[in-house]
Amino acid sequence: MFILTKIADLVQIAPEDFGKQSHVAIEDNLNAKYANKVVQKIGLFVCLWDILWTSEGLIGQGDGFANVNVECRMVVFRPFKGEVVVARIASQTREGISLATDFFHDIFVPWSELPEGSEFETREGLWVWREDDQEMFYDNNEMVRFQVLSEEWHDQAPSGPLDLADQPASELLPPYKITGSMKAPGLGCAIWWEE
């Protein structure tokens, strides 16, 4: 579910942070820049894992920032294809079920990836799995296991004013979206499978 990604970056330490120890200042700087951010085709950055190498701090012309080149490793959330992950049911529609973990919210299981015999109960607004005369509801906030099928990336770099007019801000696609499956036995609500 989590991977390590090795990056190189230029860290600029502001004069007010000179009171901190260098490694602390670098750590804060990298975390402030990357924690909780999606980097395209890499994943959701969680936090700094370790610092591998740093250069001397150089002060350039015009400001008092100390410029340090850093090589480090970051913890990144990026489940691999086929991995089974636990998440919570966030909301449901006729199209399928939206899942979320506490820190990542763009997971979707389309109706075609629910087990056979699943139906959408319009009155309740919930999906239900009918198997051998038993009804099992996908209740909201229930913990489920799902398998990662595919991922989608949408670069959210700002577009020009002309493009922006065509596409209202509310329709921005999520930067990183996971499509999952709950078809196979063992997937779906966790309490169904307790021994």
């Binding site: 402030a32 924690a35 909780n36 890499i42 969680v46 063992g186 309490i191 307790e194």
Partner: protein, 155 residues
């Protein structure tokens, strides 16, 4: 920023958990304030990892996961000399999910039915339970028992 290596290594949930807990402890002892986005995310990831049915729910009390326990698990599985070996990703998923039934194991291990005999599957679940601990069943689990049986047989 330059990406030097997009995947330098895989981390298990336990390692991430340990890293965050230690970072928080260290910051607390130095009375350090971390950037807001990091503080939020660290709390959220910890909450997620401590949630049922995650195996780290009671890690603080039981200490079931440790570097020794993980190498024990690997050794115990190797000692059994099953007819097929587990892939790296499969072993990682076992660590992250701690499957307590063959049904859950079957989604983690690809083509499990062909690679392992039924006895081996049960043995594997048992080894996992013995080395990493087991989940306590929740109060309302009993009602679903029959369904699980019927679905398992239909695999």
């Amino acid at each position: 920023m330059k990406i030097l290596e997009s995947q330098n290594g895989l981390l298990s949930n336990y390692e991430v958990y340990q890293h965050i807990v230690e970072t928080q402890k260290r910051n607390k002892s130095y009375k350090r304030r971390v950037p807001g986005n990091l503080a939020t995310l660290m709390t959220e990831v910890l909450t997620y990892l401590r949630e049922k049915p995650g195996p780290l729910e009671k890690q603080e009390e039981t200490g079931a996961y440790s570097p020794a326990a993980i190498s024990n698990l690997l050794e115990n599985i190797q000692q059994e000399s099953f007819q097929s070996e587990l892939a790296k990703g499969e072993f990682l998923s076992i660590l992250n999910l701690r499957p307590d039934s063959t049904a859950i194991l079957s989604v983690i291990v690809e083509d499990m039915e062909e690679r392992f005999t039924e006895d081996e599957q049960n043995r594997l679940v048992q080894i996992i339970g013995d080395t990493l601990g087991r989940n306590e069943p929740s109060a309302d689990a009993g009602t679903d028992q029959k369904t699980i049986q019927s679905v398992e047989n239909g695999i």
